[in-house]
Symmetry: C2
Subunit: 192 residues, 2 copies
């Protein structure tokens, strides 16, 4: 998606350790108009998949997830990262290793909101090694729902998570795939 | 807002300890169409306030915040609950006591995205004692931005946080104010 690639080049910042900082428009401050255009693009791509539910993970997936759900005219469900006092009853759980936070945490989705009648599009802001997506796919599988695929804002192609999922036959559509970054020059190269 | 009150009566669940569970449409699964209508209502209420930025707090404020920001055609900024590896540089911080999680945490907003030229509408899904809002207001004050007011989905009127803010001269607009709940009968009474 040219609009997103242009924005990453304009406002993204590359730091050592393969960190791409896009918090001016994607994960601290959100450009809702840009998210809405990504939502429209994902709707185009998955329009024939019979999607009944968008699934994401708190916190920064919620923004893009909301705008995708708006175009599909279906609910957004977000996995929570720890069991709070307000989630009662039966839940699906999985474990996710976080690169950013350097820890492993449980993700939780209530069984009330996902079952074998659903067709799920998983949405997230970033895809690197695929740890969060693997946890969400595990939850979709536990629920018996059908997985339409994954819609991602920015995929870090060089970390391999997206290609591993594609090799398993999972449809992964990323609005921008970063193939290479150089923290010395700030140069970002996208996959064609 | 009649639509939200009707939905709370239909799908909200009352538990002992003044817990109102609305996770089928507001804070686990999100009814994006309902959020969008709340966004439109808040735009109507604050249309003359010159709002340049919506400010909320992760995680469940992001959903309603996104749809409010869409109607104001401005960015959504969300306060983060702990310092991650990906936030660098100068930040505004404040402390918030969480009733749900029974702890105190730091909230953080990058100074890059909020300054004295902004007029801020603070948005959140719930207002009880007002702890989260007080932290966000503190951050707005630190930045020198103007506070237009607070737009809330559900206010628990009986916990007094909203009225304390109003007594300080802060404009607080809640889409539904729960005045009383009874966990034995499930009855919910709204403020008129």
């Amino acid at each position: 998606m040219q609009l997103l690639e242009n924005r990453i080049i304009k406002d993204g910042k590359v730091f050592p350790g393969n960190v791409l900082k896009v918090d001016s428009f994607l994960n601290h401050q959100l450009d809702v108009d840009l998210l809405d255009k990504m939502g429209l693009e994902m709707k185009e791509l998955f329009k024939d998949s019979g999607v009944t539910k968008i699934l994401t993970i708190e916190a920064s997936g919620i923004g893009v997830g909301c705008l995708v759900a708006r175009h599909f005219n279906c609910p957004l469900l977000f996995a929570k990262k720890s069991k709070t006092l307000n989630i009662k009853g039966d839940v699906y759980t999985s474990k996710v290793e976080s690169f950013t936070h350097q820890c492993t945490y449980d993700i939780i989705v209530s069984k009330d909101f996902l079952n074998e009648n659903d067709t799920v599009l998983i949405v997230d802001d970033f895809l690197a090694k695929g740890n969060a997506l693997n946890g969400l796919i595990d939850i979709v599988n536990q629920s018996g729902a059908k997985l339409a695929g994954c819609g991602i804002a920015i995929e870090k192609g060089y970390q391999g998570g997206g290609d591993k999922l594609r090799a398993q036959g999972i449809r992964v559509e990323s609005m921008a795939i970063v193939e290479k970054m150089d923290d010395k020059t700030g140069k970002i190269i996208f996959r064609r």
